[in-house]
Amino acid sequence: MLENEVPQEDNRTLDGHRKAVYARGSDGRVRIVQSTGWEVEEIVTRQAVDDLNRLAEEARQRVQAGQTSPLEYHMHHRRMDVALLSQLTGIWQWRIRRHFRPDVFSRLSPALLARYAEVMGIGLEELKKVD
């Protein structure tokens, strides 16, 4: 890639940041060139983010239909999965899945809720509802 071929395509996922990429200058030397992004990067990053957002949105709808608890929504909203949430809280995966049941979730102790809220970096009240 030549210096003047470095894409400057205003990748939206960079949010105005520029990234450093390496390219060959006219003197043949490979050096850092700042780039506002490449559409290819934007496509694959959006794909990953959109997939996480889809999981959160689907969970939100199931919360409203009474099929799951807000815990599942917040887990996806914070870009986590059950395996990661289990590592972060030290709560077994099967127990977390059980807490996805609205009737079980509504009876959870404040201490247990606080453990979830803490690793997600949200408040206790926020954890109990979806926005």
Binding site: R12, Y22, A23, V30, V40, V44, A48
Partner: protein
Amino acid sequence: MEFQHSHASHCESGVMASLLRQHGLPMSEAMAFGLSSALSFAYLPIIKINGLPLVAYRMPPRHIIKGLQKPLGLSMRFETFGTPAAGEARLNQLLAEGKVVGMQTSIFWLPYIPEDLRFHFNAHNVLAFGRDAQSGDYLLSDPVVEHAVTCAPADLGRARFAKGMLAPKGLLYYPDKAPGTPAWGKILPKAIRKTTRVMLDTPLPIIGVKGIRRLANAFDRLDAKGAPAATKMFIGQVVRMQEEIGTGGAGFRFIYASFLQEAAELLGKSQLDELAGTLVDIGDDWREFALATARMIRDRDPLEPSALSGKLRRIADREQAFFHDLRRAV
């Protein structure tokens, strides 16, 4: 010495180059990357991230920090902590002594990183070089960000003590002993040979050139007709690791070409210059593969993973020839 932030493509090589320059050794990011033999390829179907296999174009985290010690006669101090309070106190102490300190963090909790790039990845490296006297915020040099940034203590604490895979446990690191004058004639050929060994001779079929072919086979097994969404997630993930995750383009191939040019000059071997040119061409092939993949994800071209696996096999052939030539050149 006053600290100077510089923009780099990859966090770990950027942090180490900055730290070494701070200790009086001129060092580019590319040299830190190449000298620690950080270039690689690995396709790890057993390690799943959000259900997708891990594809890496470099050696595992901390390889660069640790790998620079021996060639440079450098000794790094590593400190981890049982509690966030202890980790913060120690960081404050080191900064008060005027040290520049490397830290391992989770990129998810760093507020200055763009929202779309904040995933739960625990091995993001940044430098702390001071504190704002008024707000108490830390002054950070994050190599992948254009300018120096600030970060509130609470956010940094979360980032340093995130749990999960590769948990940083508050890791701080800094040189204990300043680096000596490098014996380039000895350490550069050694570092280059090590990379050729990883790429050509690793007995595992998932590492190096064999790993690229293995990935190509995995592309051929994808069910593009029956499960187009899952197929797109799989191929998109590969490109994300190659281009978006701070690689300097083409999965670190361009940055390694830059290293080879520096090595050519230091060793007086023009052959390495020619090989650097070849590697840039191979990097362009990787970029073309990325472009073709992205077009399929967006349905601009029909979804045909077999067309992509053909490209991967051609790249594997070219890299195999390239690393053989590189081995003969040093």
